[in-house]
């Protein structure tokens, strides 16, 4: 359940990129893995606790996202949808294997003093680290929505997501807005990566799995809907842990998959999605 916050943050990043550019970021999970490795680097080399280091991770991933959009995605915005998927798959492949080259194949885990302790909340005991990850992730999501709803750049991003032509007509530098949006989406997942680095062992090939998890959440919540991604993350986390309690633990993943199928059958646009007109 407490993973929900992080799930949400990761999905919010994906849905932001999709909502604005209509590009499915297949390298999303790999960007998250890079967030984890950056947190790990800082913790092992500089002794920076990941609960502080996530800021740097987010910044670094922002730059990565910005550059990917400017240099690669921007060039094929008009190409068919599937070509963009292909491009992002190429990026994912490069990111995954660069991580393998640089960091090696062993699973890593960041040690944070906080990750060791637990507190008792009434009858259940809770991991302090998870509690913090959840709180920070929710806080970041709130900050993101403040950014989107209260700042000029944020408004431009929402405007470009709503109607790119309209944004162009009124003189918005849409290319810059796109790059910023991609950067912010990547920063979200980078921060999410740093936050779970002390909780979740990570290896370079994990990216695909994380991408798929994000897609599930976003589809369940509704493509392009920030609220949907946020609530979707919580729903999936709750559904999975409930599923694990009441069903065989091995069916845990099946739960979110079935949820996905149900959503696709009965609400193809997702819980908070609007049908394209």
């Amino acid at each position: 359940m407490l993973f929900g916050g992080v799930f949400s943050l990761m999905a919010v990043g994906l849905t932001l990129i999709f909502g604005v550019m209509r590009v499915v970021n297949f390298a999303h999970g790999d960007m998250m893995v890079w967030g984890m490795y950056l947190a790990w680097l800082m913790a092992t080399r500089g002794g920076v606790d990941p609960y502080l280091g996530f800021v740097v991770c987010a910044a670094a991933l922002f730059v990565l996202g910005f550059v990917v959009q400017r240099v690669l995605v921007q060039r094929i915005v008009d190409a068919p949808h599937e070509m963009q998927i292909l491009l992002m798959l190429g990026v994912a492949l490069v990111l995954e294997n660069l991580a393998l080259l640089l960091f090696g194949p062993e699973p890593q885990r960041v040690r944070s003093a906080l990750a060791q302790s637990t507190v008792w909340l009434g009858p259940v005991f809770v991991d302090v680290a998870r509690l913090i990850a959840f709180a920070v992730a929710v806080l970041l999501t709130l900050l993101l929505s403040l950014f989107l709803y209260r700042t000029d750049v944020g408004r431009s991003i929402r405007a470009a997501a709503d109607n790119p032509y309209g944004a162009l007509v009124i003189g918005t530098d849409v290319r810059r807005v796109y790059a910023v949006a991609f950067g912010v989406g990547a920063a979200c997942v980078g921060a999410a990566g740093a936050l779970v680095a002390p909780l979740l062992p990570f290896q370079p090939p994990m990216g695909l799995q994380l991408s798929v998890a994000s897609f599930n959440i976003v589809i369940i919540g509704g493509m392009g809907s920030l609220l949907g991604a946020f609530v979707g993350g919580l729903i999936v986390a709750v559904a999975e842990s409930l599923g694990a309690v009441f069903l065989k633990p091995s069916l845990k993943e099946l739960v979110s998959f079935s949820l996905l199928v149900l959503i696709l059958l009965f609400r193809p646009a997702g819980i908070f999605g609007r049908r394209a007109s």
């Binding site: 080399r45 979740l200 845990k252």
Partner: protein, 424 residues
């Protein structure tokens, strides 16, 4: 953390150099043409970690053979490794084997996971290239070939394996459990089995359950309450909560490195009291990185794994060398079995009547009786009618003072096991 990026760079350099030595033809003296071996392992993708260990083990062995004068009966012929990467995907096992055979490989070595190993079998049988499996546990890989030879569909078996089979793992684990419990004078009534729900974990747990049913030991396995988890997991708290509800005497996990990093701290956090954690054999419970990350959580944990024979000074020397070359990784199951496989091949080549005839090599393989291996064997390396080495067996190891130590069977033990685990 032992493998920081700095040492990683030295590791890369080391393996790069190793690759160059093993990979380049050596025009130094007027040596005979090198004998080429295709070493196919999953060095990228989800299985990259053990795959890279296998590759480095094989590379070190080739260096050692060549430094020792190559294959003496063939005029000091050196060995050369041609390297292949399955990317952890079966179809690449086949195409990499084909590519390397095309580049002149005369024997195949590989490939850690059973899927790509099976795909390589077809290359071996169709193209008549002898194949020594260094690691892959699935019984049918060799048994199926042996059966088709027996039934006359195939003339010759080209596939041999120097690694315990899945059924051996189960049988030996049950045997060790029984012996250790007897030695410790306990009879656990509630042994709880947990496993990762991937191909490896499922096969391993099935083998263990089957062996338990067959052996009918005095201790009791909770057969109906086996707890699986999806691999890699994101959270094991519910699984461990279920485990706690079982009130286990002994916890018996089959892990992968990633899941072990979650499982053991979770067991501590949920304060499950038990006699100890004894696994039927799996990675994740003994590697240097895991010990560094898990620290006291791994202390006293036992697992039945193929293990190097550290009583031998030769093994100790190599383990040190390996640690230096790998940037601090431990010489263990994967590097060890790949290392031994190269030496078995060298021994075979030494004895083979001629090398340009695969059947002559096969004949030499079938007559193998090799005793200088670095791993802990139950006897000399030899191959039975199925093509397996019946003396390839696991050893019970235990983490004692942050070091994995062989503790059972008695003749392989470096120290006495500590069981039940002392209360903290």
């Amino acid at each position: 953390m032992t493998s920081s990026p700095l040492t990683r760079r030295t590791f890369l350099k080391a393996t790069l150099a190793g690759g160059a030595i093993a990979g380049a033809p050596r025009p130094l003296r007027a040596q005979p043409k090198p004998f080429r071996i295709a070493a196919v392992h999953p060095v990228t993708g989800p299985l990259a970690e053990p795959g890279q260990a296998c590759r480095l083990g094989a590379q070190l062995a080739v260096e050692a053979v060549n430094a020792g004068g190559g294959i003496k009966s063939k005029g000091g012929m050196p060995l050369e490794l041609l390297l292949g990467d399955t990317q952890s995907k079966p179809e690449n096992g086949r195409i990499e084997a084909e590519r390397l055979v095309n580049q002149g490989a005369q024997m195949l070595l590989g490939s850690f996971d059973s899927g790509s190993t099976a795909a390589m079998v077809s290359v071996a049988q169709q193209k008549r290239v002898p194949f020594l499996i260094d690691i892959a546990a699935a019984d049918p890989i060799t048994a199926n070939v042996a059966r088709s030879v027996k039934e006359g569909q195939q003339k010759v078996q080209y596939v041999y394996r120097n690694f315990p089979t899945g059924s051996t793992f189960g049988r030996k684990a049950v045997q060790y459990f029984t012996e250790i419990f007897a030695e410790a004078k306990v009879t656990p009534k509630r042994v709880a089995l947990m496993h990762c729900n991937d191909l490896f974990g499922v096969n391993q747990s099935r083998g263990f359950l089957a062996a338990y049913k067959a052996a009918k030991p005095p201790w009791t396995l909770l057969e109906d309450d086996v707890i699986p988890w999806p691999e890699p997991p994101s959270d094991l708290s519910t699984e461990v909560a279920r485990l706690k509800a079982l009130k286990p005497d002994v916890i018996s996990p089959i892990t992968r490195p990633a899941s072990a990093l979650l499982l053991l701290p979770e067991i501590r956090k949920q304060r499950i009291e038990s006699l100890g954690i004894v696994g039927p054999g799996s990675p994740g419970l003994y590697e240097a990185g895991q010990i560094a990350a898990l620290k006291e959580d791994l202390e006293y944990v036992m697992a039945s794994n193929p293990w190097p024979n550290f009583r031998s000074p030769k093994t100790q020397r190599l383990a040190e060398d390996y640690q230096k070359r790998s940037g601090g990784r431990l010489f263990d199951t994967n590097s060890g079995y790949s290392y031994d496989a190269v030496f078995v091949i060298a021994d075979v080549l030494e004895r083979a009547a001629k090398l340009d005839d695969p059947d002559a090599i096969v004949e030499a393989i079938q007559k193998t009786s090799y005793t200088a291996g670095l791993m802990q064997y139950g006897g000399p390396v030899h191959f039975n009618e199925i093509g397996d080495n019946p003396n390839a067996i696991p050893t019970m190891i235990q983490i004692l003072k942050a070091k994995p130590v062989a503790v059972w069977p008695k003749d392989a033990a470096l120290q006495k096991f500590v069981f039940p685990r002392p209360k903290a």
